[in-house]
Point group: C2
Chain length 329, copies 2
Amino acid sequence: MSGAPRKAAIIGGGVIGGGWAARFLLAGWDVAVFDPDPQTPRKIGEVLDNARAALPALSDLPMPTEGHLTFADSIAGAVAGAAYVQESVSERIALKHRVYAEIQETAPDAPLGSSTSGYRPSVLQEEAATPASIFVAHPFNPVYLLPLVELVPSPATAPQVIETAKGILHEIGMFPLHVRKEIDAHIADRLLEAVWREALWLVRDGVATTEEIDDAIRMGFGLRWAQMGLFETYRIAGGEAGMRHFLGQFGPCLQEPWTRLMDVPEYDDALVDLIAGQSDAQSGHHSIRELERIRDRNLVGFLRVLKENGWGAGRVIADHDARRARTEE
Amino acid sequence: MSGAPRKAAIIGGGVIGGGWAARFLLAGWDVAVFDPDPQTPRKIGEVLDNARAALPALSDLPMPTEGHLTFADSIAGAVAGAAYVQESVSERIALKHRVYAEIQETAPDAPLGSSTSGYRPSVLQEEAATPASIFVAHPFNPVYLLPLVELVPSPATAPQVIETAKGILHEIGMFPLHVRKEIDAHIADRLLEAVWREALWLVRDGVATTEEIDDAIRMGFGLRWAQMGLFETYRIAGGEAGMRHFLGQFGPCLQEPWTRLMDVPEYDDALVDLIAGQSDAQSGHHSIRELERIRDRNLVGFLRVLKENGWGAGRVIADHDARRARTEE
């Protein structure tokens, strides 16, 4: 990449906004963050420390020169001159609409991605001055390591904006998954929400603790999902007889009482206390900071394995290295 | 372990039975397999080849001398003298009951684990001559690599049988998760079934293809789940404010229309055709055998990373090495 660094504006400086800031900075972009919370510089600094300790281990090339980080004291100041704007404020639609109005007063044409996990892009675009620039770009924590971004346009989003966003997300090492049909919670969080509801029932009904549920995931199917996901894993399970055979065997289970998903558990104080208490018993001997570092060390290891094997998320990293090598030639 | 090798009987020689056979053989046990399918020796041989190529890479110690594999021509012949019996026949309860009757005629006191993913142990025990010996021992494919076994007794299972089974499962390198309350589909498959239903809706409604759903998993949260599972990941997401803060934020989503789990998709030929066709387009350029080897290479890499980091499934492997080293001293 030649020429002056481009600028990304990060609106909302929590753990997700901080992850975006780290992605852009370590890819050589300048970053301006706006968040009224006076703790923001400290919080962003901590995410950035984690990212600097983890991300470079994934690449076989020297990292680009890190971009320049500034903290703006207004949205207008953050987005002025930005080639990309990412919004990661709280999941309150009225707040998001107010923020978009301010952003688009200064930067109406900048691609404006939202980190929302739940809202459809057409809901985000309501009342907007320039709906064509707005889309969902939903990342996954830690944003500086996990490649997935769900990229969701509405019919009102300009196709050229999505193409530009894809190019930028590739450039900062991510995997934009173009979701062709907008839907509440997109794809991944619908799957997560399904598991979450069932897990709440299991805890509430006293079948399992939070630790037992985590072990049931990470000692078994979690390891499969980190590389192949759901359908490719089941394709293998069908064995020589193939996917159709597997589908024939598994289909009848749909009629069995194997989930309690038909209704939603009452999310009362007793359930919150139960889960928070079990989680403390399970993980309270590690600080959140320690857990982050353990997680990142594991993720870097997994991603390096996948890169060596030319598979899954590792292919995203290898492709990113290859693009960088070509650009710098 | 000193003395003559002990014998495990494997009833049902499909991909799961084959994985059990490999676990026991590579841990030094003699194994007798019974399955009326004449293809069984070939099928077991292929699983065993995969296991021999993968499992030894996890241990820092030389592997024990492999046990002796035989194919019995009757259930009685397979279970005679067995210290452990594992049943992995089709998920048809009448068949399982017939098989248990035959097993217990010859070996009434041997611990008898079932690989069932759905049935509760008390359903398995109905009509049995010795219900006290019967329990669920539900493994995950590939059985020779993934440590998880859901170990589920009913009130009629003898506690001593469960203790014996735990010891044996530890000895062959597995992680027995003692499920304290029996429930259809135990723990992991309830979570899997929840995701499966939602994924079927997403495919049926044309929101995403099988490949897009797999990417939404393996480029993002699948990588988190391979090491920490659901609750510990969310504990981190709560950040400095902790689990209670996270629970407060995520709770209201339960009332949102984020899943279609309230009803079950009609599982007709059109849906099966759609999924099987998309799966062919996604993965049809690899044979099942190739996919197995890719999967195993990835899993071995992940498990080695976790072992180096002393975390999750890697701790199971490290502990197993330590126990073996002590036993062989």
